[in-house]
């Protein structure tokens, strides 16, 4: 059970290899973004899923990472690796300072405090126009180069590869962590903090450590983001993004790294699926719709528009449905579903056999 499981990694590499060769460019770009989110959610999975400490403010660390590196590299000509080090270091330092008082809180209090922290960071970024560019954001961040190649070139297929190799490495490291002493300590905090303390786990130290770790990972993802797009805006610190990060971990089944990975990819692609309907134009609709409904172009335009706006609603709905029907997460949930299905099929077959025999 505690053994290293290489199978998902094999599946992942085959999948990535396939996509890299045959995937459409736009798909790769979406997956690149999803990969950056994965790096955030892997850290969040350790914090929220394993250690059981909710944070509804992690977009703040993502933004801090991105902004730090952007400001340093653009305005002060700091080399990229310097931007990276400062981004992660600043984010970790902020997490450390804010974590000391915050992590003493539990349950809803912790959720509210992290939420408050996130909104404060957003509002500071948004209002400090001189420093962060306000809502115009900062543009012109140099693209990430590795061994002399600009990874963001050609729409960034190499960036895709780079980000996902990062994801794989983080999955490996996070998997190693949860299968050993510190991982068990985190799980014990989630299981029962008092008992964990009594069993000799310094729970406050471990909560702080994993909080700082996840903040650092979020900052790293923010760094990857800003040197991919060359731009960062205040949206990257928005409350909604923090919420989505937590939702990704929850839909993934909380203490489940691979589940989190799947949920992150699915939830970040979801708006894209919902947007498929948007290319429909009023004029493209067959005539009989115009005739039979007796609607004018404007009315039909409005109707289409309404359906296009459904995506917000559907997003909310999907989160609710997942939490109600698959609280154990997308991975275990689907597996359970197939198992029940198989059992039913077997039962039906068994009955048939019995009735055949009689």
């Amino acid at each position: 059970m505690d053994r290293f499981d290489w199978k998902p990694f094999a599946v992942l590499s085959v999948l990535l290899g396939y996509l890299f060769v045959f995937g459409k460019l736009y798909t790769l770009m979406l997956l690149t973004r999803a990969g950056m989110y994965c790096i955030v959610t892997i850290g969040m999975c350790l914090l929220v899923g394993y250690a059981g400490q909710v944070s509804i403010g992690h977009a703040a660390f993502y933004a801090i990472g991105g902004y730090t590196s952007a400001i340093l590299t653009i305005r002060y000509g700091v080399p990229l690796w310097g931007g990276l080090v400062c981004a992660v270091a600043l984010s970790c330092a902020v997490a450390f300072l804010i974590g000391i008082p915050t992590l003493r809180l539990r349950g809803h209090y912790l959720a509210m405090a992290t939420l408050g922290f996130g909104v404060i960071v957003y509002s500071l970024i948004h209002s400090s126009i001189e420093f962060t560019g306000g809502s115009s954001g900062i543009s012109g961040a140099p693209p990430l180069t590795l061994f002399g190649t600009n990874l963001a070139e050609d729409g960034g297929i190499f960036y895709f590869l780079f980000v996902w190799i990062n994801v794989a490495v983080f999955m490996l490291l996070a998997g190693n962590i949860i299968r050993s002493r510190p991982g068990r300590a985190l799980m014990s905090i989630h299981g029962n903090e008092e008992a964990a303390n009594a069993a000799g786990v310094n729970t406050s130290a471990f909560k702080l450590k994993v909080f700082v770790l996840s903040a650092g990972m979020a900052a790293y993802a923010g760094f990857l983001y800003v040197h991919y797009d060359g731009f960062i805006g205040a949206n990257s610190a928005e409350l909604m993004l923090s919420v989505i990060f937590v939702a990704m971990v929850a839909v993934g089944g909380m203490a489940n790294l691979w589940g989190t990975l799947c949920a992150t990819v699915l939830l970040s692609l979801l708006p894209e699926f919902l947007r498929r309907t948007q290319k429909v134009k009023a004029a493209d609709l067959p005539d009989f719709i115009h005739n039979s409904l007796g609607l004018s172009d404007t009315q039909i335009f409005k109707l289409i528009q309404k359906f296009q706006e459904l995506d917000v609603l559907i997003y909310g709905l999907i989160i609710i449905v997942f939490m109600i029907f698959m609280p154990q997460g997308i991975f275990t949930g689907t597996a359970d579903m197939f198992r029940t299905l198989a059992r039913r099929v077997r039962a039906v077959r068994g009955k048939r056999r019995v009735s055949d025999a009689s």
């Binding site: 590499s13 290899g17 797009d229 731009f231 805006g233 296009q308």
Partner: protein, 410 residues
């Protein structure tokens, strides 16, 4: 021991997959290139010339989300124009295909969509985005990938500093600021308060007012920002501060937010009698409706589209404006706004350039840089150093009379 071997195997596999995909990538890239070449060959063989092949033009607007009031009329306008142009035979016989995407006002989304348009849809040029922030997010990117962008957003920063590939159609913020300040100077106003929405548009506006205020002998006594999510109560608080300073002679409110309707209402409520100036963001009749009586007498600078029918017959823009206004209003049963006009201009500028120079991206850019065009925003005269192409005269001072827009009589 077994564990170790499995790990090693896994790592090797991953390495192999990585190496394989690197090789595969090159192969795929070559295949892609070959594919497009092959397609070109086929096209040439079949059609002789690429006649009948649709010319793809990209568009990114904030159709949903916070800035949907910008993106919605823009999208409608572009779709209407596409039909009109194709019905009239397209460009030199080729139909145009305008691919409109919605960025929801989110900069990251704009980035993705711009990439999608350039690399996957292979458009020859892009119009939009609706918002300044979103435009700034792809400004550098467009230059790197050498594709023309004609923004429908106002901020001066889009064309200053100049990016050879980025243009914009809305009048410069500084023109609006100078028009308003000139009017104040004429009216003998010397001390004002500036209210602005704390977002890209408002922040840019404040910058321009500050830059030109001294030239017109106007002193800014107070800079009052409010958040995009500001409530009525917040604005009441701000205006109480305006009211508290009796020496103020006027107030400017610079935003594209609903606050444009709330501020006049609250001023009326609080009994603040000084004149209110607003930005070109006020060019949507819905804001006038929302403000009710309080909107009357507001002075703002805007394009002539809003007063198309009232223009003198000799005005060069009159025909364009009236035609667009009537086509839009009869088709969509709602009043036209200047924002749709910006998209109108952007699309026509691209189409005209393609007509002249063909579908080569660099040729399109050069064609635009040497073009003139009579649009809804004014008479555009682009040059290699002026990527907005509009002068001060592209704007008029407007006001609200009995709930509708009118030219301000001097």
């Amino acid at each position: 021991m077994l564990k170790k071997r499995i790990i090693t195997l896994g790592l090797l596999l991953a390495l192999a997959a990585f190496a394989g995909s690197m090789v595969g990538c090159k192969a795929a890239k070559q295949a892609r290139e070959k594919g497009t070449e092959a397609a070109k060959n086929i096209k040439e063989k079949v059609g002789g010339e690429a006649k009948g092949e649709a010319i793809k033009i990209g568009a990114i607007f904030s159709v949903t989300g916070k800035a949907s009031f910008l993106g919605e009329p823009e999208k409608k306008t572009v779709e209407m124009l596409e039909e009109q142009i194709n019905a009239a035979g397209g460009i030199n016989g080729s139909p145009i295909d305008v691919i409109v995407y919605d960025d929801e006002g989110d900069e990251a989304k704009t980035q993705e969509l711009a990439k999608k348009l350039i690399f996957e849809d292979e458009v020859v040029a892009i119009i939009g985005p609706s918002r300044s922030g979103n435009t700034m997010a792809i400004k550098d990117f467009m230059g790197q990938n050498k594709t023309v962008l004609i923004s429908a957003a106002a901020a001066e920063a889009i064309v200053e500093p100049l990016n050879p590939w980025v243009f914009k159609t809305p009048q410069k913020d500084s023109y609006v600021a100078r028009h308003l300040l000139q009017q104040m100077q004429d009216a003998g106003i010397t001390k004002i308060a500036v209210l602005y929405g704390n977002e890209a548009f408002g922040q840019e506006g404040l910058k321009q007012i500050k830059a030109y205020a001294a030239d017109h002998g106007v002193q800014i006594a107070a800079e009052l920002a409010y958040e995009p999510a500001a409530t009525e109560g917040d604005l009441e608080t701000l205006l109480t501060k305006v009211k508290a300073d009796a020496s103020l002679q006027a107030a400017i409110n610079w935003t594209i937010l609903p606050a444009q309707s709330i501020v006049p209402k609250k001023m009326k409520e609080l009994g603040i009698k000084i004149p209110l100036y607003q930005s070109h963001g006020f060019g949507n009749i819905k804001y006038v409706e929302a403000a009710g009586d309080a909107a009357n007498g507001i002075i703002f600078a805007g394009g002539r589209l809003l007063v198309a029918h009232n223009l003198p017959d000799g005005d060069p823009q009159k025909k364009v404006l009236v035609d667009y206004k009537e086509a839009y209003e009869s088709r969509f049963a709602e009043e036209v706004s200047t924002f749709g006009g910006h998209a109108y201009d952007a699309l026509w500028i691209v189409v005209n350039a393609i007509k002249e120079a063909g579908t080569d991206k660099a040729a399109i850019r050069d064609a635009i840089e040497n073009s003139t065009f009579i649009g809804t925003g004014g008479v555009f005269k682009f040059t290699p150093t002026d990527h907005n192409g509009l002068g001060m005269d592209s704007l008029s001072l407007l006001t609200v009379k009995n709930g509708s827009f009118a030219l301000l009589e001097q």
